[in-house]
C-alpha cells in the first residue's frame, strides 16, 4: 500500500491533532505509519508544509522538546482564557528565580540555589516545581550529605515552548568564584 503526498499530509495532520502528546517525526514514522514505508524526509516535508499552512490560522504547528504539536496562537490567549473557569497559575518571584537557577545552572543542589538567592528555598517551591514536572533529581553531589542535584525536564521545555536548553534567552555567565569552587563547575552544556 502507498500513501500519496496529500494522504500523508492529512494523516499526519489528524494524528497531531488527536495525539495526547507531541510526536516526533520518528514516532510518526514508526508508530503511525508502521504499515507503510514512508521515509523520514517525506514526513519532514509534510510537517514543513503543515507549518506553512497553519501560519495564518488560529492554531499553529510548533516543535517543542518532545515533538510537534498544534497549539493556539499566543495572541488569542486572553480570549481563549474565557473558556476556562480557573485562571492560569501565576508564580512568585522566588519560584521563578529558583526555576531559573535550575534551568540555567543545572545540575544544581538546593544549597547552591540558596547561596545565590541568599535565602533558604522553601520546600513548597521545590514541591510545586516537581509537581509541575518541571524539575527532577538527576543525581547527588559527592560531598558530605550527598545533596540531590536538580535539573529541568522535557516537560519544562515543552511547557515553556522550547526545543532545548540552548533556546533559553542568554544570561550573563557566572563570574569566576574566588571561594565557592563548585559554583561554576556545573554549567549547562
Amino acid at each position: 500500500m502507498k500513501l500519496n503526498d496529500q494522504q500523508l499530509l492529512q494523516v499526519i495532520e489528524a494524528a497531531l491533532f488527536v495525539a495526547e502528546q507531541p510526536m516526533t517525526a520518528v514516532q510518526l514514522q514508526e508508530q503511525l505509519l508502521a504499515a507503510y514505508s514512508v521515509s523520514n524526509a517525506r514526513i519532514k516535508k509534510a510537517l514543513a508544509e503543515l507549518q506553512q499552512h497553519y501560519q495564518n490560522r488560529g492554531v499553529e504547528l510548533v516543535q517543542v522538546a518532545s515533538g510537534y504539536r498544534f497549539q493556539s496562537k499566543p495572541e488569542f490567549a486572553a480570549l481563549l482564557a474565557n473558556l476556562w473557569q480557573e485562571k492560569p497559575p501565576r508564580y512568585s518571584q522566588a519560584l521563578l528565580e529558583t526555576l531559573a537557577l535550575i534551568a540555567y545552572r543545572q545540575p544544581i543542589t538546593r544549597g547552591e540555589i540558596e547561596d545565590v538567592r541568599g535565602v533558604s528555598v522553601s520546600s513548597q517551591i521545590m514541591k510545586t516545581l516537581q509537581e509541575r514536572g518541571w524539575i527532577k533529581v538527576v543525581g547527588h553531589r559527592e560531598v558530605p550529605g550527598r545533596p540531590q542535584l536538580y535539573a529541568t525536564t522535557k516537560t519544562f521545555l515543552d511547557d515553556f515552548n522550547i526545543k532545548d536548553l540552548s533556546e533559553l534567552p542568554a544570561i550573563a555567565e557566572p563570574a569566576s568564584a574566588t571561594t565557592a569552587e563548585t559554583a561554576t563547575n556545573d554549567r549547562v552544556h
Binding site: 488527536v18 522566588a94 528565580e97 531559573a100 538567592r117 541568599g118 515543552d158 515553556f160 574566588t178
Partner: protein, 297 residues
C-alpha cells in the same frame, strides 16, 4: 492551589512584565495593593506608611533582591559597591522588618552581618605590599554574588516571558473515533525464542532426567504428525499412498521411519482391509472403534 502560586495581594494584570523587574521600572506602576490602595513605588526614602511596609518588603524575594534594589535605586554600579551607604540603608530596612516580626528577617540579618564585616575590613589600613588589589578587596565576593544573582533575576524574567502552556498557548486536542478500532495484537514469538525455549527444556532434562529422552530426527516427528493427521481425515489409507515419489529416497526413508515409530507407539496399525489387495494403514482406535464422524471423503 498551593501557596507559591500567588493568590493574595496582587500585581495588576498586564503589568506582569514590568513588575517582574521592579528595578527597571521607571514609570509609576502599582507594586501592589494595601487595603485596596495601590502602592505605586517602592519608597524613595525611609518613610513608609506602616501598613504598606509589609507588602513592600514582601515584594523582595530575599536579601540579595533588596540589596540589588538599593544599589539600582541610587543608579550605582555593582562593581563599585558603595558599601557604606548601602549598609546603612540595608540595616534600616532590616530593623523595620525586625520591628514587624517578619519571618524572613533571619536571612536578611545574615546579609547585614556580611555588609558590616566588609565595611569594617575596608576601614582597616591596607597591608603595605599588596600587589593584587582585586583579590584583597573584601567586596569582591559580594560583588560576584550580586552579579550572579542579577543574572538569575534576568533568567527568571526570561522564563516569565516565554509563552507558557496553559497561560499563553493552549494545546489543540480533538476527539477521534480511532480508539474504537484498536485491535488486540497477540505477542510475537521469534524462531530463536522458540529454539531457546527448547534448549532450556533440554538443559533441564539434562540436569534431571539423565538423558532418558530419545533423540530423533525431527523430520521423522513431523512426518508422524502428518500421517496421523491424514488418518484423521481418511480412515484407511493405502500404505503406498503414504510415500511421495517426488520426495526421493530420503523422503521415503523418513515416511517409513515415521510409520514404524507410529506402529511402535501403537498409534496406528497396518492391516489388510476386506476385499483389498494392498496393505492399509489406519489409526489404531479406528480399527476397533469406528469413528464415522472423522471420516471424510
Amino acid at each position: 492551589m498551593n501557596s507559591e502560586v500567588i493568590g493574595k495581594p496582587q500585581l495588576e494584570q498586564g503589568t506582569v512584565k514590568q513588575a517582574a523587574d521592579p528595578h527597571a521600572a521607571q514609570q509609576p506602576l502599582p507594586l501592589g495593593f494595601v487595603r485596596g490602595e495601590p502602592v505605586i513605588e517602592r519608597p524613595q526614602d525611609l518613610y513608609i506608611p506602616p501598613h504598606a511596609l509589609e507588602v513592600i518588603l514582601e515584594s523582595f524575594s530575599g536579601p540579595m533582591d533588596l540589596l540589588l534594589y538599593l544599589i539600582r535605586k541610587q543608579k550605582l554600579d555593582i562593581l563599585d559597591l558603595p558599601v557604606f551607604d548601602i549598609t546603612k540603608q540595608y540595616v534600616s530596612y532590616v530593623e523595620m522588618m525586625h520591628e514587624l516580626n517578619l519571618e524572613l528577617a533571619a536571612d536578611y540579618l545574615v546579609m547585614a552581618a556580611m555588609l558590616a564585616e566588609i565595611k569594617s575590613r575596608l576601614l582597616l589600613p591596607k597591608p603595605a605590599h599588596s600587589d593584587d588589589d582585586d583579590e584583597l578587596d573584601p567586596r569582591a565576593e559580594l560583588v560576584r554574588r550580586l552579579q550572579e544573582y542579577e543574572a538569575i533575576r534576568e533568567g527568571a524574567q526570561h522564563l516569565e516571558q516565554l509563552p507558557q502552556r496553559g497561560r499563553d498557548v493552549f494545546v489543540a486536542h480533538i476527539s477521534s473515533d480511532a480508539k474504537a478500532q484498536l485491535k488486540v495484537v497477540p505477542p510475537e514469538v521469534s524462531l530463536q525464542e522458540l529454539a531457546l525455549a527448547f534448549s532450556d527444556v533440554l538443559r533441564q532434562l539434562d540436569l534431571h532426567a539423565h538423558h532418558q529422552i530419545q533423540r530423533e530426527n525431527l523430520s521423522t516427528r513431523a512426518r508422524m504428525s502428518a500421517v496421523l493427521e491424514r488418518l484423521e481425515q481418511q480412515r484407511y489409507v493405502a500404505f503406498a499412498q503414504l510415500f511421495t515419489r517426488a520426495e526421493g529416497r530420503a523422503g521415503v526413508v523418513v515416511s517409513f521411519l515415521a510409520i514404524l515409530e507410529l506402529v511402535r507407539e501403537s498409534l496406528i496399525e497396518l492391516l489388510y482391509v476386506d476385499g483389498q489387495q494392498h496393505l492399509h494403514v489406519t489409526l489404531k482406535s479406528a480399527a476397533t472403534v469406528p469413528e464415522d464422524a472423522h471420516e471424510a471423503e
